[in-house]
């Protein structure tokens, strides 16, 4: 086991190196002038000044020299200048990440609880009406384009009923959090609202979070439901379940005491990856709901042809995913000791 972890940890820098080469390869497809945004905040129009920048930062030098300089910059936390956010990319990520994390957390909890519950119930009532209904619900769920679902719920709950507005906060709440008396602890408004003793801000933030969280959740419920269902079905066919039934345990004890805990193993590991997926997959949802997080920043940067920002976010997302994969693999082993990771 420890051998496996060490091997994976040794490979980790290699994968990160590969990731950086891939990103850098994409950067090199840009013109030298566009790449100048890696180093300067404002690209001048004057051709002489542009040439000066290209010379100064060696944007016409051989690739390996440029790569070395770029990597050195990244290791010092300098990802370039984001013309979309009008601040350094690193600072932009720090600013927008809490919003994305908050949205991901608020959709993650209902996804796991409801998805698992539905999946387990579907498996217990295999091939009955409940199972078929759960199946239709889940197929439609993962066929639903996020942005179509988002636009439809906005049409009903915002444009028509005026219940849940887009954005992150109402105007008055936005003024409240920027006022001097309000202390920003995490950048997550629901948490900060409570910590500052302002339940009205907490509720306002929650009201804005409801629709995007629902949109993210509906698509992902399908995934958790399927995993929970098939894993539970497999468990219910195991010999030890038959033994438990044979020795006279009640149906409740067999299902919830014996089968469900083991069926949860794949659900938990998929859940870990799902959380990462939520952090990375919010591009569309944040755009539809005009929710100012990393996803919206990535989308706006892409539209702006601001490749430096997009690549900065992609690099971070990739790094998070690689590490999360490793953690999930190791977690898997602890949950199910039969799995050997050699």
């Amino acid at each position: 086991m420890s051998k496996y972890i060490i091997r994976r940890l040794l490979i980790l820098p290699l994968v990160m190196f590969g990731l950086s080469v891939l990103i850098f390869g994409m950067l090199m497809m840009l013109d030298p002038v566009e790449r100048a945004a890696l180093y300067v905040t404002n690209i001048p129009k004057n051709p002489d000044a542009i040439q000066a920048i290209i010379d100064k930062y060696g944007l016409n030098q051989p690739i390996y020299i440029q790569y070395g300089r770029w990597l050195g910059n990244i290791l010092h936390g300098n990802l370039g200048w984001s013309k979309t956010a009008q601040m350094p990319v690193t600072q932009a990520i720090e600013t927008y990440f809490p919003a994305t994390l908050e949205l991901a957390l608020w959709s993650f909890t209902p996804i796991m609880v409801v998805g698992t519950w539905l999946g387990i119930e579907a498996a217990i009532h295999h091939d009955t009406f409940i199972d078929q209904a759960a199946r239709v619900f889940s197929i439609i769920g993962y066929s639903f384009p996020t942005f179509v679902f988002g636009l439809l719920v906005l049409m009903i709950f915002y444009a028509d009923l005026q219940w849940f507005p887009p954005g992150r906060l109402s105007v008055w709440a936005n003024q409240a959090i920027t006022s001097p008396g309000f202390h920003t602890y995490t950048g997550m408004y629901t948490v900060d609202g409570l910590l500052n003793g302002r339940p009205d801000i907490f509720l306002d933030a929650l009201r804005h979070l409801f629709l995007p969280a629902l949109t993210l959740a509906y698509v992902d419920w399908a995934l958790i439901l399927r995993v929970a269902r098939s894993s539970m079905l497999e468990m219910l066919n195991q010999d030890y379940i038959r033994t438990a039934r044979a020795k006279g345990l009640s149906n409740q004890q067999v299902i919830y005491g014996h089968a469900r805990p083991n069926a949860m193993i794949p659900v938990v590991t998929i859940g870990g990856l799902l959380m990462v997926g939520l952090l990375n997959g919010v591009v569309i949802t944040e755009t539809v709901f005009n929710y100012h997080g990393m996803g919206l920043l990535a989308a706006n940067s892409a539209l702006n042809f601001d490749a430096v920002s997009v690549l900065g976010i992609a690099l971070l997302a990739g790094a998070v995913l690689v590490i999360a994969n490793l953690v999930v693999d190791i977690l898997y082993h602890y949950l199910d000791p039969r799995i050997t990771l050699e």
Partner: protein, 316 residues
Amino acid sequence: MVTESKRLIRPDTATAQTLAPRSRVPAWLIALLKNPVSITGTALVVAFVVVAVFAPLIAPPPIPSEPYQIPRQGFLSEPQPPAQGEPMGTTQGQYDIFYGVVWGTRTAFKIGLIVTSLTFLIGGMVGAVSGYIGGWADEIIQRIVEIFLAFPFLLAALTLATILGAKIQNGLITGMIALVVFGWPGYTRLIRGDILAVKNMDYVMAARVVGVPNWRILFRHIIPNSFYSLLVVASLDVGTNVLTFAALSFLGLGTSEGYADWGQLLSYARNWIPTLNTHWWIVVFPGLALLLFVLAFNLIGDAFRDALDPRMSTRV
């Protein structure tokens, strides 16, 4: 397991080759034909094929040389409700939604089929080489695959489409390139896993012992075994690829202005969110087309999976 042992005693002769497909196909095909899920999915796909094939008759293009350019009913900004001659209304800029939905079906098939077959081919070949040759080649290929998979798919496609967008003006092509470049590694993993699973089975060993050449073992014995499971993934992926492309289009990175494409039609709705209840048709019609298209392929893929996976059919 029964089929494996049957194959084991069957020599690699002409009769075995003619028998093999016949004995394998009917079981899952019959299951599919009886399944209401796959029937619904197939009916939907057939309906979309009909719309795509007969698009010139359903919505005759005003300029025959540019059928994918949606005709405009004027230049007014505000979307107009369904009316005589525009059964689904117009969206922002007076683009005819009905025309866009009909010709967008062709765009969707183009994207789905081209992207899926390219990713399938590239990923399948790389995976077959990786799994069958093994050793250092496998190690290198798998590390490369890992790097590609380390990117979140949509963000990766978004990044590449952004960069290519500055060079190639055709958004349809840049979007598809982005989907292929980051789509093939998934197949590589799948087919490699399948090959590793059957590579050391007795019947493959037997074939090797009697001197069947490597490529023949790969194409006659190993690939047919994993082919159907790959087909499931591929059919699910037609839907997913169309969906991802529509997402790129929705963000403004897809097709050029006025091109018949569902994602682009939907992107116009972004500017009318506060009044969507009075402009419902700009979301509902193109949204429904996209949802049903993706749903159709997912239904077929889902039924395929059940038909091919005996574990899922056991009763509790």
